[in-house]
Amino acid sequence: MPTPGIPIEYFVVLSAVLFVMGVLGVLVRRNAIMIFMSVELMLNAANLALVAFSRQWGDVGGQLFVFFVMTVAAAEVAVGLALIVAIFKAKKSIDIDELISMQG
């Protein structure tokens, strides 16, 4: 089904930009919470792309997938934040560069 209004390229580009921002955030940030938010950004960039293409092809499958991603993301946040709290209690810091006890 052809789509009136905003063409698909805009969505894809926005999604790509968001995703790259997320990747860069994960790579350069040292605060665990910031890394976490960057991961969320990457997930939502993917969600955007999914919704856009869903609309492009008139297939609800993409939108359905987004719900799954959101559920998983919520669960992941719950676990991840709990981990961060635990780490903070133990180390008094959530600087990711200090968590290198697995160094070989």
Binding site: L27, I96, D97, L99, I100, M102, Q103, G104
Partner: protein, 773 residues
């Protein structure tokens, strides 16, 4: 109708039950109950054995096979047509052994109640003894070689456990004991290997291991269904079955020997049956030399005296070591069918008899003398079996069980008394104070522990230490060394008299038991030499006569050194008589040793005896032993043998007759003369057999083990595996640098990886796009 023979499984179960009770509750029951349970667990089987003997007499002495309700199809592989049942055999031969084992065994159990008093591991001793009796009864009541082998190995195990019973004694004695146990076990392993080969060959040759197969159910217990006489299958309840004559290894062997020309197939070779039979019997002989301590495997038995004295009496004199004689007698068809092996058997027995008899002369340890004497007497039995006089060998086995059991137990009583004397001396520190405290020792070994402790606490509290700790005294005093004895006749009168009876019986003095059985053996070898013209029998006869001389000599030396003369140590001077619980078994055994010859008096005496039957044992055994020789009493021979024994006693009496027989240096009087000095030294050094074995067998073996352990195991094999491990570790060490621990590193790695994968997947698309432009 109740069938008595069905009780035979209880012969084995009862000692096992006794063992189980003492094993679980031994610590809580107290010494008296432990001893009573263990004794009853052997005493009741004795009554059963007596009943079995009467049952046999009622049923025309016919052998019967009994399958116990459990363990019926013991080993059964239908596809290979292999069927080895757990099956008891009641015939005159096995019942004779059962009577000896449980009868003498019961007396020794009772004796042990007193002897082991105060030992730290009192219940365990009886557990082992009961286990031994159970295995020994399995050995003799088996109806096939495999079941016999179970007993054969089991008694070996118990022997090991009991020789090393005092493994934890201090001052190196514990090591000596456990080394003796190991030696016995390892030397026996050589013999057992021979027996195993004999079993394999037997099975290959005959396709079965049963002595005879079950046939018709002539006698059966009520409410049992039974048996197809063709296939010989039996139902699972305890059933008495008559064996089919001629089926089973012995019947088949006899048939093939009579027919002649039978071949046994080994792969592509056909081997004559007589050759195979010779091989089987030679391998069996190897087993016999191990278990019955014959040359060349006799070295373990003298060392086995490290065990407690009741063990020496029960296992290493009366029962286990006679298992070899039992094996030969049971397989008399085999041995009779192989003249070559019989010659070897004769020679081995006679050589051992003379050899061990000679060594016994030069020993100082009271138990070592008896140990070599046992080896020597077993040699007599083996020699008798070698010339085909199986029943005669068995006669000597029975009388030997009486008088050697008696001698060992009396020796135990002597050791006990001397240890006690030593104890009293070391407790008081001076000799003068002794006369008054003497009487208090007499009641030391009573069954009632409370009075015992009370008596001791009041007289000299410090001396109430267990016997097992005796070795911890500072100055090692050897209570078994005859040099430390002398003059015990007045201190231990009962022990002296029973010991004297045992000595006379062993020396073969008329009319004690040993005279009759030893004379029978000499007559049998003499007959084989002159009558059948067997060359080895001449040699054997001479050697046995020599051994008889040695026997009388060393026994009288012992009497002189131990009981007569004057006490040579303070300990001997203060020795005390043992408790009644130890003396009563001695008295009963002494009575048996005195009159045991009545079991098998020569037929020549029939007119003198009146209503009393001669040759009772031979006729009784003739129902299960196929080849019973006619050994005729030879008055000249008997007088010669008696003369030899009496002469030896007189010589010994002359040599050791002084009040203190030892020389000034504390040596044997034989050492004082140059001509006898060498002989004594050789005998004392045991003809260097331990040294010879050490150089020829033990040292090469240790060297080979060292080579395998050092250069080969540690050098090649270990180094190989360590090398592989080191290599893996080295690689891992270099790779571990990849793990930085920074989340960032992993993220980048992942990203790069994803990008590469994406690129690979999308590359064709990109190319297309590029090409399209």
């Amino acid at each position: 109708m109740f069938n008595f023979a069905t009780l035979v499984p209880w012969m084995v179960f009862l000692p096992l039950i006794g063992m189980g009770i003492n094993l679980v509750y031994g610590k809580r029951l107290g010494e008296r109950n432990v001893g009573l349970i263990a004794s009853a667990a052997v005493g009741i089987p004795f009554l059963i054995a007596v009943g079995l003997g009467m049952w046999l007499a009622q049923n025309n002495f016919a052998a019967a096979l009994i399958n116990p309700p459990i363990l019926d199809g013991w080993i059964s592989i239908p596809s290979a047509a292999l069927e080895i049942p757990w099956q008891f055999r009641v015939d005159t031969l096995s019942v004779t052994m059962m009577l000896v084992i449980t009868g003498v065994g019961f007396l020794i159990h009772v004796y042990s109640i007193g002897y082991m008093h105060g030992d730290a591991r009192y219940p365990r001793f009886f557990v082992y003894l009961n286990l031994f009796v159970a295995f020994m009864l399995i050995l003799v009541s088996a109806n096939n070689f495999l079941m016999m082998f179970v007993g054969w190995e089991g008694v070996g195990l118990c022997s090991f456990l009991l020789i090393g019973f005092w493994f934890d004694r201090k001052k190196g004695e514990g090591w000596r004991n456990s080394n003796a146990a190991r030696k016995a076990f390892i030397v026996n392993r050589v013999g057992d290997f021979g027996f195993m080969l004999a079993i394999f060959l037997t099975f290959w040759t005959f396709g079965t291991l049963d002595y005879s197969k079950p046939g018709e159910a002539a006698l059966r217990a009520p409410d049992t269904t039974i048996t197809d006489s063709v296939s010989g299958q039996i139902t699972t309840s305890a059933v008495v079955v008559k064996p089919i004559p001629g089926v089973g290894v012995f019947g088949m062997a006899q048939q093939w020997l009579n027919e002649g020309g039978h071949k046994v197939r080994f792969g592509s070779w056909d081997v004559s049956f007589t050759v195979v039979l010779t091989l089987i019997t030679l391998f069996m002989l190897l087993g016999v030399t191990g278990k019955s301590a014959q040359l060349p495997l006799m070295t373990w038995l003298p060392d086995a005296m490290a065990g407690p004295t009741p063990v020496s009496a029960l296992i290493h004199a009366a029962t286990m070591v006679t298992a070899g004689i039992y094996l030969i007698t049971r397989s008399n068809v085999f041995f009779h069918g192989s003249p070559f092996t019989s010659g070897v058997v004769t020679l081995v027995g006679a050589l051992t008899a003379a050899y061990a008899g000679f060594i016994a002369i030069g020993q100082w340890d009271i138990k070592k003398v008896l140990a070599y004497s046992t080896v020597s007497q077993l040699g007599f039995m083996v020699a008798a079996a070698g010339v085909g006089a199986y029943t005669v060998a068995f006669f000597h086995l029975v009388t030997h069980a009486f008088f050697k059991g008696l001698l060992f137990l009396s020796a135990g009583s002597v050791i006990h008394g001397v240890e006690h004397g030593n104890h009293a001396v070391s407790a008081h520190g001076d000799v003068g104070a002794h006369g008054s405290t003497h009487s208090t020792h007499d009641d030391h070994f009573t069954l009632d522990e409370s009075t015992d402790v009370a008596a001791h606490g009041s007289t000299h509290g410090a001396t109430n230490t267990p016997i097992a700790e005796e070795a911890d005294h500072e100055a090692p005093f050897d209570a078994q060394d005859m040099r430390n004895m002398g003059g015990l006749r007045t201190k231990m009168p009962t022990t002296f008299w029973v010991y004297l009876i045992g000595t006379l019986a062993l020396a073969g003095i008329f009319p004690f038991a040993g005279f009759w059985s030893k004379d029978d053996i000499l007559a049998a070898t003499f007959q084989a030499a002159l009558g059948d013209g067997q060359i080895v029998a001449y040699l054997a006869f001479g050697l046995l006569l020599l051994a008889a001389f040695f026997t009388a000599f060393y026994m009288w030396r012992q009497i002189r050194l131990v009981f007569l003369g004057k006490p040579r140590t303070v300990a001997a001077d203060h020795a005390v008589e043992s408790a009644p619980v130890m003396l009563w078994p001695l008295i009963i055994l002494a009575a048996l040793a005195a009159v045991g010859g009545a079991l098998n008096l020569p037929t020549a005496f029939e007119s003198v005896l009146g209503g009393f039957k001669p040759e009772i044992l031979s006729n009784w055994l003739a129902h299960s032993v196929t080849f019973v020789p006619e050994v005729s009493f030879n008055i000249v021979l008997a007088i010669t043998a008696l003369g030899v024994a009496v002469g030896a006693i007189l010589i010994a009496n002359y040599v050791y007759g002084r009040a203190n027989p030892l020389t000034k240096k504390g040596d044997d009087p034989l050492m004082a003369r140059t001509e006898t000095r060498r002989i004594f030294e050789l005998s004392n050094a045991k003809l260097f057999h331990d040294e010879i074995y050490d150089v020829t067998v033990v040292q090469p073996f240790i060297r080979a083990s060292d080579t395998l352990a050092g250069p080969i195991d540690r050098g090649i094999i270990d180094r190989g595996f360590l090398g592989i491990g080191g290599l893996v570790r080295g690689i891992a060490y270099r790779l571990r640098g990849l793990q930085t621990g920074y989340v960032r590193t992993y993220t980048v790695t992942m990203l790069v990886g994803v990008l590469i994968v994406l690129f690979v997947i999308l590359y064709p698309l990109l190319r297309q796009l590029a090409g399209g432009q």
